[in-house]
């Protein structure tokens, strides 16, 4: 199952390596990872998407992350109401003949054009991973020349539908 996990970490050199090294050592599979500063100086936040087999493995993952000295907080926010965003840059081959067609398709995604040449347009699209997948699938028949994604960054929403049970052991 796919899980979205956020960790608050002390921003020391090597902390990213520590976390990814741990995931590798314990045989967890990372789909995406994003890291950046937070509102507090010296504190960074990592968001990653992982594929875990079952609840037991998930519990292990959370506990092992929590065990790292530089990790302050670990949250599995998958089941919470949350905002999840990712940014992708997609270079699409667009001959002048299909330009209008492409633009009309891109519009509902609110993708923006960030670079343009005679036959290639680079779009920037943001949203949750499903939306980005959908956008890429739509562009694929035209020819995706190059593609890069930032990985997911996420927040829980201020208002939650109901309390989600936390692992009482943590």
């Amino acid at each position: 199952m796919k899980r979205v996990i956020t960790t608050t970490v002390i921003n020391q050199s090597g902390v990213l390596n520590r976390v990814t090294g741990l995931l590798m050592k314990r045989q967890f599979n990372i789909e995406s990872i994003s890291v950046g500063h937070t509102e507090q100086p010296g504190i960074s936040k990592m968001t990653f998407m992982v594929n875990v087999e079952d609840k037991g493995k998930l519990e292990q993952l959370l506990k092992q992350l929590q065990k790292q000295i530089d990790v302050i907080k670990v949250n599995d926010i998958t089941d919470k109401a949350m905002v999840m965003r990712e940014l992708a840059l997609v270079k699409v081959v667009v001959s002048p003949a299909v330009r209008n067609e492409i633009f009309s398709m891109v519009e509902p995604f609110r993708a923006t054009v960030v670079d343009m040449s005679k036959n290639v347009i680079t779009f920037q699209v943001t949203g949750d991973p499903e939306k980005i997948e959908a956008f890429i699938d739509l562009m694929r028949p035209y020819g995706v020349k190059e593609l890069t994604r930032t990985g997911v960054s996420a927040f829980v929403r201020e208002t939650q539908k109901a309390q989600t049970p936390q692992l009482n052991i943590l």
Binding site: G14, G21, Q60, K67, I69
Partner: protein, 575 residues
């Protein structure tokens, strides 16, 4: 001008201490009495500071010897072992010991030199990325980037190594940081680690639940691990077992947490555990695990492990709970604190009369056994029993890994805690002998016996120099079967007796070898010789090495084959 000069003068006065000076001073304020180390280029400033402001330094003859000695010291004293080595090869030679300490939860603080910050990352002479290398095998590690951080980092390193679940912490110090002068008159700060706050007090509700479950049990069993030793909770363990008449079994590393002769002790469980202990695990209805991590050598095939039991697991490391075995009642706590709370609960004792009667019958019917009849020479089990008899179970015993380790674990019944020093998790050959040196330094008055195999001993025998130099009265008993005994046993059992590379008939003359180091050496080949030589050696205040020739083809029984359940023991009658 005058004012400026005055300012410069003041600055000069404050900058009297180098990073290395501060390191040594900090070690002293941490109460460090012994450093196990080996000098080299990148740690020259540190060794110079040590020369000016001495702490007892044990110069091992190989860094691996130094770190295993530090592990032995830490195991018997409970205090962090301190190791110092140079950059590059000095640091990489420590890796085995670091991994060993990590798996067996031993508190170590390891200082490694590093090339100067200006050349880190350029593949400089004797540069190795020891931070990257040791990240997965340390509890935490640091590279000191600013000399001003050094006092804080040292303090944190000792704190992390010795609290919570103990483990090794490595501090990598670039050479220029060790030489740099700085003002160290900053106020002492308390350790502040927002990401590290181990839980030591148990949750009260969980304790109540555990008490309730135990009081309803018919066949309760305590599995006591090394967590009890780390928490110094052995008295509480015994009191709890006595109060509620609950039998106890041990993990390999938990041996000594309860006296070997205690009435309700069933012996060690696991791959080479006793019939009674393994059967008890299979049949118990409540399994109270205190400070053990359900290692695969203990559990055997998980599908058959404690199939009838509800599990209560007390551990200071939450990540160990539920990792291997589903747990009904998790309790994150220091083992001693949890036991004290359980004792305070004074719940109704379960009626264990029938259960204890059955276990006691098992003990009578299936004791650990071996067959002497018609066999000439010394059986290794006999040698261990002789050591036990002569020392009355009071000696400190260290071992490597393998057959001799299992025989020691089976037949040496400890009277006291903190006397058992063995490499459990990592299973390191060459651990036992240097560990005995560390143990002897920690307990100078005690009899320390290193029971080792002939192959493992040859991996770190260079430390005989330390016995020669320090005249440490360590007794080395080599159970010499001229083979890699456990490998040979597995080849016999699982590979149709194809002894691929496991027989080592060519070996040094160990008696002469001892002589070369100015140590008394003896070779014994019969039990009569062994009686006399062991007794004399154990009464001597000098180091002694004994080459004890044992039967080559003897195997360790009982045995649970890998992948099998604890209910599928072979050799319960000793063959």
């Amino acid at each position: 001008m005058g004012v400026n000069l005055q300012v410069r003068e003041e600055v000069k006065q404050q900058l009297t201490a180098s990073g290395a000076d501060v390191l040594i001073q900090s070690l002293k304020s941490q109460g460090v009495e012994i450093i196990f180390g080996y000098p080299g280029g990148a740690v020259l400033p540190i060794y110079d500071a040590l020369h000016k402001n001495p702490i007892r330094h044990i110069l091992a003859r190989h860094e691996q010897g130094a770190i295993h000695a530090a592990e032995g010291y830490a195991r018997v004293s409970g205090k962090p072992g301190v190791v110092l080595a140079t950059s590059g090869p000095g640091a990489t030679n420590l890796v085995t010991g670091i991994a060993d300490a990590m798996l067996d939860s031993l508190p170590l603080v390891i200082f490694t030199g590093q090339v100067a910050t200006s050349v880190i990352g350029t593949d400089a002479f004797q540069e190795a990325d020891i931070i990257g290398i040791t990240q997965p095998i340390t509890k935490h590690n640091y590279q000191v980037k600013k000399v001003a951080d050094l006092p804080r980092i040292i303090k944190e390193a000792f704190y992390i190594a010795s609290t919570g679940r103990p483990g090794p912490v490595l501090v990598d110090i670039p050479k220029n940081i060790a030489s740099e002068l700085f003002s160290s008159n900053k106020k002492e700060e308390a350790v502040h680690l927002p990401g590290y706050q181990p839980t030591t007090k148990p949750n009260f509700l969980q304790i109540q639940k555990a008490a309730q479950l135990l009081s309803q049990a018919k066949k309760p069993l305590i599995l006591a691990g090394a967590g009890i030793l780390a928490a110094k909770g052995t008295d509480e363990l015994k009191a709890f077992s006595e109060q509620h008449q609950i039998p106890i079994t041990n993990t390999l590393l938990g041996l000594g947490s309860i006296a070997g002769e205690y009435e309700l002790f069933l012996g060690m469980a696991g791959m080479h555990g006793t019939y009674t202990a393994n059967t008890a695990i299979c049949n118990c209805d409540v399994l109270l695990n205190i400070g053990a991590r359900f290692d695969d050598r203990l559990t055997g095939n998980l599908a058959h492990f404690a199939p009838n039991a509800q599990v209560i697991h007390i551990d200071i490391d939450p990540a160990e709970i539920g990792k291997n075995v589903p747990t009904a009642i998790p309790i994150v706590a220091d083992a001693k604190e949890a036991l004290l709370q359980l004792l305070n609960q004074s719940f109704e004792s379960p009626d264990t009369t029938d259960w204890l009667a059955k276990l006691s019958a098992d003990k009578m019917e299936y004791p650990l056994q071996y067959h002497v009849k018609g066999r000439e020479g010394i059986l290794p089990q006999q040698a261990v029993e002789l050591i036990h008899r002569l020392t009355e179970g009071n000696a400190v015993i260290t071992t490597d890994v393998g057959q001799h380790q299992m025989w020691a674990a089976q037949y040496y019944r400890f009277n006291n805690p903190h006397n058992w020093v063995t490499s459990g998790g990592l299973g390191t050959m060459g651990f036992g002998f240097p560990a005995a040196i560390g143990a002897q330094l920690a307990k100078p008055e005690e009899l320390v016996i290193s029971i080792v195999g002939d192959a493992g001993f040859q991996m770190t025998l260079q430390e005989l120099s330390l016995l020669q130099e320090l005249r440490l009265p360590v007794k080395v008993v080599i159970l010499n079967n001229q083979s890699l005994g456990m490998v040979r046993q597995w080849q016999e059992t699982f590979y149709e007796g194809r002894y691929s590379q496991s027989l080592i008939p060519v070996q040094p003359d160990f008696v002469k070898l001892a002589g070369a180091y100015d140590i008394k050496g003896y070779k014994v080949e019969t039990m009569e010789e062994a009686e006399a030589v062991f007794a004399a050696a154990f009464n001597s205040d000098e180091p002694v090495l004994i080459d004890c020739r044992v039967l080559q083809l003897e195997s360790v029984y009982p045995m649970v084959a890998p992948g099998k359940g604890l209910n599928e023991m072979i050799g319960v009658k000793g063959e």
